[in-house]
């Protein structure tokens, strides 16, 4: 099976009139000129590539009569062997996407060849617009097993919880007993009538007691010498609100469970009502917007820091746009044997946040890039930011993606920005990144 190949992707919007990528490409390739056009880069939507697709069945390769075009099995890049090129330009006409070019002077074809793994355009862009995605094969290597649960899960199309839960299960492996709670997470652990939804043992808890029920089972497995991982998949309602006491107690007692909070920032399963993690100003049905009310009043509980402050062996934040980061954190979680592991996963809910069905990855990305949801870990008291955005973006880049913030005025956005800034600042100083006064 061929491995996954690297790809070149646009992640942010370009500032107007910037041509730095095109200029860098031209500089790299020399007099022949760039293979990317700044105009095109400006126009292309986010998540799309800005240069040659490196097709699996390249039209250019099929059209070439001289076998001068080859696709490398090693890195998937389609290259022109210039010594073999006969200058017929068949490839240029064959490429439907305008990604093949011809040098009239030397009479050879040329194209984007990803600068042998270090694209000049990406290096040259100071705005973080371009990303060279190189880790999909590495992420795949973390997957230990097949899906732990059914392919037919009753969650919304495009649900981040579904993506994250499947990924989590495959990385953790099947030597596991799962504990779930009522809420969106329930679809994975709860059986329907005689049939289970998961192929590993599951206990379906109450919202008030996921941590303690999981801990009780783990205690029994430990006592009887059974080496089984106990994992709780819980929503934000059961974590920050009604089940908080139990979680806090379990952390304090050093119960050895992996507690994963899938945070969609409201009680979504009951139809979008505010929870302890709903951010300031956000619309929900119980933090409505009207003449008298303007969304959520007050700030939200920042659970990951609260849990880290319990002194547990490992705390981390993660989200689905940074799967390698999450996989690494899950691997660390697996090896903790002397206390509670808490992982807080940001799980965008397009239904409740009023966003398109296909937007959960983009929302996650922007959450990280605006520092709304920083990626960090705390390993036995040592804090570390596991990803820092190159130029963080203003909070509007995140809020504009969702309808739940649509009503926010300048000053309200400013308040939200303040919360985000001070939280990130606190994390930076905990991680020892702030210069001492």
């Amino acid at each position: 099976m061929a491995k996954f190949y690297d790809t070149l992707v646009k992640r942010r919007d370009c500032p107007p009139d910037c041509h730095l990528c095109e200029e860098a490409c031209a500089a790299k390739l020399g007099s022949v000129g760039p293979v990317i056009k700044a105009e095109k880069v400006h126009k292309v939507p986010r998540s799309k590539t800005i240069a040659c697709f490196q097709c699996s069945q390249p039209e250019c390769m099929q059209a070439c009569p001289a076998e001068a075009i080859v696709k490398s099995e090693e890195d998937g890049v389609v290259r022109v062997i210039q010594s073999k090129c006969i200058g017929c330009e068949a490839c240029v006409s064959a490429c439907s996407y305008g990604n093949m070019f011809f040098d009239r002077e030397t009479r050879v074809a040329f194209k984007c060849e990803r600068c042998d793994g270090e694209p000049a355009c990406v290096k040259a862009c100071p705005h973080g617009v371009l990303e060279f995605v190189t880790n999909t094969e590495s992420i795949r290597s973390y997957l230990r097993t097949e899906d732990l649960f059914t392919p037919g899960v009753g969650l919304c199309a495009g649900c981040a919880i579904e993506t994250i839960s499947r990924f989590t299960g495959k990385v953790l492996g099947d030597n596991v007993v799962l504990f779930g709670t009522p809420g969106c997470c329930s679809r994975i652990t709860q059986g329907i009538n005689l049939k289970a939804s998961a192929r590993v043992p599951c206990y379906f808890c109450l919202m008030t007691n996921a941590a303690s029920t999981a801990a009780g089972a783990k205690r029994y497995y430990q006592k009887t010498g059974q080496n089984i991982m106990v994992v709780a998949l819980v929503g934000d309602g059961a974590t920050a609100d009604v089940g908080f006491a139990g979680l806090s107690g379990a952390a304090e007692r050093g119960e050895n469970i992996i507690y994963i909070c899938l945070d969609n920032e409201a009680y979504m399963a009951t139809g979008i009502q505010k929870s302890g993690t709903t951010p300031f100003g956000a619309w929900t049905f119980t933090s409505p917007v009207g003449k008298q009310r303007r969304g959520k009043v007050g700030s939200s509980k920042y659970m990951p820091l609260i849990m880290a402050d319990h002194g547990i062996p490992y705390t981390a934040t993660a989200t689905l746009s940074h799967l390698e980061d999450y996989a690494r954190k899950l691997e660390k979680a697996k090896h903790v044997t002397d206390g509670l592991v808490y992982i807080h996963v940001f799980s965008p809910c397009h239904t409740g946040w009023r966003a398109p069905e296909d937007s959960s990855f983009e929302i996650s990305r922007m959450a990280v890039e605006t520092n709304y949801f920083p990626l960090w870990e705390c390993e036995r008291g040592e804090y570390r930011l596991t990803y820092r955005p190159k130029n963080s973006l203003p909070i509007q880049e995140f809020t504009k993606l969702m309808g739940r913030f649509r009503h926010l005025r300048e000053e309200e956005l400013g308040q939200l920005q303040k919360v985000v800034n001070s939280r990130f600042s606190l994390l930076e100083s905990l991680a020892g990144l702030k210069a001492k006064a």
Binding site: G191, L194, A198, C202, L206, G216, K223, I228
Partner: protein, 401 residues
């Protein structure tokens, strides 16, 4: 069936109810014990914790942050296949109520000791039966003790009952706060090997659990007929428990030499024309009054109810058939009937009889009041009036009237 043995006693000690229950745990060897200190149960927690610290008991201890999380530890461990124990009282039971419902619905054989106490409000950290009576329809089996020896013995029998493959229900061992939890009595301690032998049929019994070899999910989201089926099975298990309680009592007597009568104890009921019915420690006071009256020639008997859930309907009906009157002394209030719960349920049971048996109800010993001998005497007199067809009050609050 256990082979014929001569009952033997390891030693005799003076213990209070909490410590007798704790000693029973030494013998029953639960895998996990989860308790939160609450008056009047706290010394039970402390005793068990010291046992573990001294290496006398190998159990996982959970000093839970709150009762619901304590019970949830037991639920998790029980679902994983372990033997568990929880201890609590009134407010603790109320706080864990959400999980309390789950434990019985999931058919997990947890044993929970209740040092019974008034439910707040009014706030009174005092004895009564209100806590477990309020929770009686959550699906647990509820056994009630009269004395401290009975607490030790009932705890052992509770595991035999709960873990029986035909039952698989959690069991409350209820004993009066203060009167039994703190006051001391003479207790015969059994040998550990004898308790091992008594529990052997259930200790190795198979039941569904959370294990990798056979990965199951519990509880499932059951709908319509399937949901009904689980309730039906649960109800059927409660019904089976009645005979099982009698059977276990006989097995216990054969091995340990002590019997409590099973679901009910009939004391001098044979030729009695009036019978007093009650449960808990005040049965002792009623026993004394019955003996006094018998000495004076009155034909009076006592039925001690040992199990509130399942309600010992069949045996009560048999015991009370043909009696001229029945007086029920309750240490609890059933608000719907402005009487006590045992009164209400006995009255319903006696509907089965072809001839109506007049009944009188009494509420005594709630809110920290004693159920004194003179109160019982008054209750007997009022019941006698009922037997003779004379006008009388149906319900009397003995501490107030």
């Amino acid at each position: 069936m256990l082979s014929k043995v001569t009952p033997r006693v390891k030693e005799v000690r003076v213990l209070d109810g909490n410590r007798a229950c704790a000693y029973a745990l030494l013998l029953c060897k639960p895998d996990l014990v989860a308790c939160v200190p609450i008056t009047p149960m706290t010394p039970l927690v402390e005793t068990v914790w010291q046992y573990v610290a001294d290496g006398r008991l190998d159990a996982e201890l959970v000093e839970a942050d709150g009762e619901i999380n304590g019970l949830s530890h037991a639920i998790g461990a029980s679902a994983a296949g372990g033997r568990t124990f929880v201890g609590t009282s009134s407010q603790g039971l109320a706080y864990m109520y959400e999980a309390y419902l789950k434990a019985s619905g999931n058919r997990l054989p947890i044993v929970m000791a209740l040092a019974t106490r008034e439910n707040a409000a009014p706030d009174g950290v005092v004895a009564s039966h209100q806590d477990f009576v309020t929770a009686r329809d959550a699906g647990w089996i509820q056994l009630v003790c009269e004395g401290v020896q009975e607490i030790l013995d009932t705890t052992i029998m509770a595991y035999r009952l709960a873990e029986d493959p035909e039952i698989l229900l959690p069991v409350n061992v209820c004993f009066d706060g203060y009167y039994l939890s703190y006051l001391t009595e003479r207790v015969e301690l059994p040998y550990e090997e004898d308790v091992d032998a008594f529990l052997a049929p259930v200790t190795s019994a198979n039941r569904p659990k959370l294990c990798l070899e056979d990965p199951l999910t519990v509880p499932t989201n059951a709908r319509e007929e399937l949901f009904c089926e689980f309730r039906y099975k649960h109800s059927a298990a409660q019904h089976k428990a009645k005979e099982k309680i009698d059977e276990i009592d006989r097995e216990f007597e054969a091995l340990f030499g002590r019997s409590y009568g099973g679901q009910i104890e009939e004391y001098r009921c044979g030729d009695a024309d009036i019978v007093m019915v009650s449960m808990g420690s005040q049965v002792g006071a009623i026993r004394e009054v019955v003996d006094r009256r018998r000495q004076e020639g009155e034909k009076i008997g006592l039925v001690k109810v040992r199990v509130l859930r399942p309600f010992p309907r069949e045996r009560l009906v048999k015991a009370l058939e043909g009696k001229r009157a029945v007086g029920v002394i309750d240490r609890n209030v059933c608000f719907g009937w402005q009487s006590g719960a045992v009164f209400m349920e006995t009255k319903a049971a006696l509907q089965d009889l072809p001839t109506r048996v007049p009944m009188t109800g009494f509420i005594a010993g709630i809110g920290g009041c004693d159920c004194r001998l003179e109160m019982v005497e008054r209750a007997v007199d009022i019941t006698r009036l009922a037997a003779e067809g004379k006008p009388h009050k149906e319900i009397t609050w003995l501490n107030l009237e």
